[in-house]
């Protein structure tokens, strides 16, 4: 315990590091909570109506009144359309042919061109989806009018799909992403807190003193972990508090369970940091390991924004070695679905396993240093 106090005093003496550690979650949550948004509203749209009569205008009105689109420009040539897309003034260009109304009248199958800037393929996918819905809606109403005109009044809509969306009614991407931010912040802060501690003692030459002192490796590990665990939990509470009360992300689960999962994850990342610290020769090497193992894996492989089940099989296996994956899954489950231990028990067991593994590896590597 004396060791823990020494460590705590050391942290206390460096007010800037402490200030950063405590303000970082607030700033990060603010930036991430506001900056993270995958939704596409008001997509800039350019239209090139080569006909310009009643029918084509009716179709374009549907675009104008749609919340996903915002008509920016009415163009008069194909070249203008290319220019607008190249310069990024619009993301979607709708081209209506000059035989549009004639074709409708003659009962042809008509195509309306939708040119989309697909360099961001996700946005492009969503935008073409919305555009298709608008055009198909138009087509359906044209066909219904046509059939009614010819005396067919029933069975115009044989099937209707009633889709109910659970957990996230408006499909707001913020609800999906923000709980995961807690995991990223914790993964980075947690590992960073401990990753330099042992390496620093070694670099400054105080490691020998520490080893000569009558403490066992187990006590040493506890002494190093406890103060940071306290700081880490404060950070976690700040993050979770902001998520619930500031960003208003629905919280449907059990708070105690959330705390338990958080403590478990924090333990895992602190121990991972400590392990890095005992292996690395100096602080620089330790920091490089910590950077390598925390930020990008927990950003890209944890299911934070990129769904793991869409990855190739081999990569899914790799993802399961990233502790953040389990915590992100647990967070999203507890927050949005309100699931209990029966559903996320596996995740918690995996986290326990990870932290035990890190603990014994650290212990082993300490013992080796001693000899």
């Amino acid at each position: 315990m004396a060791l823990a106090r020494k460590e705590a005093i050391q942290i206390w003496r460096d007010p800037r590091a402490l200030l950063i550690i405590l303000t970082m979650p607030i700033l990060l949550m603010a930036l991430l909570g506001y900056g993270v948004n995958l939704d596409q509203n008001h997509t800039p749209l350019c239209v090139f109506d080569r006909e310009g009569n009643q029918q084509s205008q009716n179709l374009l009105k549907l675009f104008a009144s749609n919340q996903y689109f915002e008509t920016r420009q009415n163009l008069t040539s194909y070249e203008d359309l290319i220019d607008s897309l190249d310069a990024g003034r619009c993301t979607l260009g709708i081209v209506i042919s000059n035989r549009f109304s004639k074709g409708l009248h003659e009962g042809r199958e008509l195509g309306v061109q939708g040119v989309v800037d697909a360099s961001n393929d996700n946005t492009a996918n969503l935008i073409t989806g919305y555009a298709r819905q608008v055009i198909e809606g138009y087509s359906d109403s044209v066909q219904a009018d046509y059939l009614r005109l010819h005396g067919i009044t029933s069975g115009l809509e044989p099937v209707s799909f009633e889709v109910r969306t659970w957990f996230n009614d408006d499909l707001d991407s913020r609800n999906y992403v923000v709980p995961g931010v807690v995991a990223i912040v914790m993964a980075v802060i947690g590992t960073f807190l401990t990753s330099l501690t042992i390496a620093r003692e070694r670099e400054r030459g105080t490691m020998e003193q520490l080893l000569a002192a009558p403490v066992s490796p187990l006590e040493l590990i506890c002494g190093k972990i406890v103060p940071f665990f306290v700081i880490g939990m404060i950070d976690a509470l700040i993050c979770i508090g902001l998520t619930i009360w500031w960003f208003g992300i629905p919280f449907r689960g059990d708070f105690a369970l959330l705390l338990f999962a958080t403590a478990l994850f924090l333990m895992t990342v602190l121990l991972m940091g400590l392990l890095i610290s005992t292996i690395a020769h100096n602080q620089f090497a330790a920091s490089q390991f910590a950077v390598l193992l925390t930020f990008l894996p927990s950003y890209l492989l944890s299911g934070f924004v990129f769904p793991v089940d869409q990855m190739p099989r081999w990569l899914q296996i790799v993802s399961h070695t990233v502790p953040a994956l389990y915590y992100v899954t647990a967070l999203k489950g507890i927050f949005l679905k309100g699931v209990g231990l029966s559903v996320i028990g596996g995740q918690l067991a995996a986290l326990t396993l990870c932290s035990l593994a890190f603990f014994f590896l650290t212990l082993y590597s300490f013992r080796r240093t001693l000899d």
């Binding site: 950063i20 550690i21 700033l27 990060l28 930036l31 991430l32 900056g35 995958l38 939704d39 596409q40 074709g103 042809r108 008509l110 061109q113 939708g114 040119v115 360099s119 393929d121 996918n125 969503l126 055009i135 359906d140 044209v142 069975g155 115009l156 044989p158 099937v159 209707s160 799909f161 009633e162 109910r164 969306t165 996230n168 499909l171 991407s173 609800n175 999906y176 992403v177 990223i184 990753s195 620093r200 602080q283 090497a285 920091s287 490089q288 950077v291 390598l292 930020f295 990008l296 950003y299 492989l301 924004v305 990129f306 769904p307 869409q310 990855m311 190739p312 790799v318 679905k337 559903v343």
Partner: protein, 377 residues
């Protein structure tokens, strides 16, 4: 002066490259990362897991189900037998979507009334849900139109022939196959390089300070800007080589098309590395311990990657944050790499981004030299 810088460069290079562990660290993690993240960063939605509850057991309901089975966007993982199971499979995230065909489905179709199909969508992953919703509606519409046309062909085939229809002809530009990888691999390169360069540079000066070798260097006749140059040029050259390596992997392995000019890409990369290097240096000059440097650099790296437009479109951010993104070099570089790789655009369009990176880089470099000087006195 040049001689002094050269001597220092030599010393730095030797220090970095003589250590076999360091040589390993410079190459291997980078390659592993580009392979992992090149595949991981992906918004494509295929094989959405689906469960089906068919309470009608009719020819028609099986026809509808077979359309979901045939779609490459869905994979039917469970056949449910009663409605209570829906909550369970969704809670456990075994499926994202359930389709429920109620009894009387076929009867309603025959009676020419609207037959409802109920679907439950797990909205937790809003992006996947949104795309899956689009596919559901598409399959449903095709089925409905197919059924209607089948009926029309029996009662009045003439009507069907002259029926107008309008469809979207989709023309995705720059990325015709809507490949997520094409979009993300160039971005991943930018992100990885920022991370590496910034954290490496952030340690340079503070490390010498903490070990106590900074004093030794300061009593030599080297000037502070020479010292900073000597510290950053090796990192810069190494980073440029690393970048070329992963860009090559992106082109050769991930088959990202390279449509622009190599010269413009080089210019953009040089300016980008310069600006992130400058941020790292500034961090190093304002930190007194390596721990501070590490924590501070992440204070910058995290927001910089979120605000860069790498995974979250800048146009969807609130105005204040959009303003902040202009301070983020990654933002400019992503426009440059994506533009050069996918669109093949040149300096005539990319000059504002280049200028912004150059400005950011030179301001920050000047700041760190000034700051370093004052910290010595």
């Amino acid at each position: 002066m040049l001689l002094r810088i050269r001597e220092m460069l030599l010393k730095e290079f030797v220090q970095i490259l003589r250590d076999p562990r360091m040589r390993f660290m410079l190459v291997v993690p980078l390659i592993v990362q580009i392979f992992l993240y090149g595949y991981a960063a992906n918004y494509d939605v295929n094989r959405v897991p689906l469960a089906i509850l068919d309470l009608d057991h009719s020819q028609e309901s099986r026809d509808l189900i077979s359309r979901f089975e045939a779609s490459r966007y869905f994979i039917v993982v469970a056949d449910l037998t009663n409605p209570d199971q829906i909550v369970d499979v969704i809670d456990r995230s075994e499926v994202v979507l359930t389709i429920q065909i109620l009894p009387g489905f076929a009867q309603k179709l025959h009676d020419r009334r609207t037959a409802p199909v109920e679907a439950v969508l797990d909205g937790t992953d809003s992006n996947t849900a949104l795309i899956a919703l689009g596919y559901v509606n598409e399959i449903g519409r095709k089925f409905a139109l197919g059924y209607r046309d089948h009926y029309l062909s029996r009662v009045s085939p003439g009507l069907l022939v002259a029926m107008p229809s309008v469809a979207l002809e989709q023309r995705p530009w720059f990325n015709t196959h809507l490949e997520s990888q094409w979009f993300f691999v160039p971005g991943t390169i930018g992100l990885m390089m920022m991370l590496i360069v910034m954290t490496m540079t952030a340690f340079t000066i503070v490390r010498e300070r903490e070990i106590g070798t900074l004093e030794q260097i300061m009593v030599t006749p080297i000037r502070s800007y020479e010292f900073i140059l000597g510290k950053s040029i090796p990192n810069f050259i190494l980073a440029l080589a690393q970048m070329a390596m992963i860009a090559l992997i992106g082109i050769l392995w991930f088959q990202v098309p390279f449509r622009g000019s190599l010269g413009v890409l080089l210019l953009g990369s040089v300016l980008y590395l310069l600006s992130v290097l400058a941020i790292g240096l500034l961090i190093s000059t304002v930190s007194s311990t390596q721990q501070q440097a590490l924590v501070t650099s992440f204070f910058i790296v995290l927001p910089a990657s979120i605000l860069s437009g790498f995974s979250f479109p800048i146009s969807s951010m609130p105005t204040v944050l959009q303003g902040l993104t202009y301070l983020d070099p990654v933002r400019y570089y992503l426009v440059v790499v994506r533009g050069i790789f996918l669109k093949g655009i040149g300096l005539d369009i990319l000059w504002p981004q280049m200028l912004a990176m150059a400005l950011l880089g030179s301001i920050l470099l000047t700041l760190s030299v000034v700051r370093f000087k004052s910290s010595l006195e």
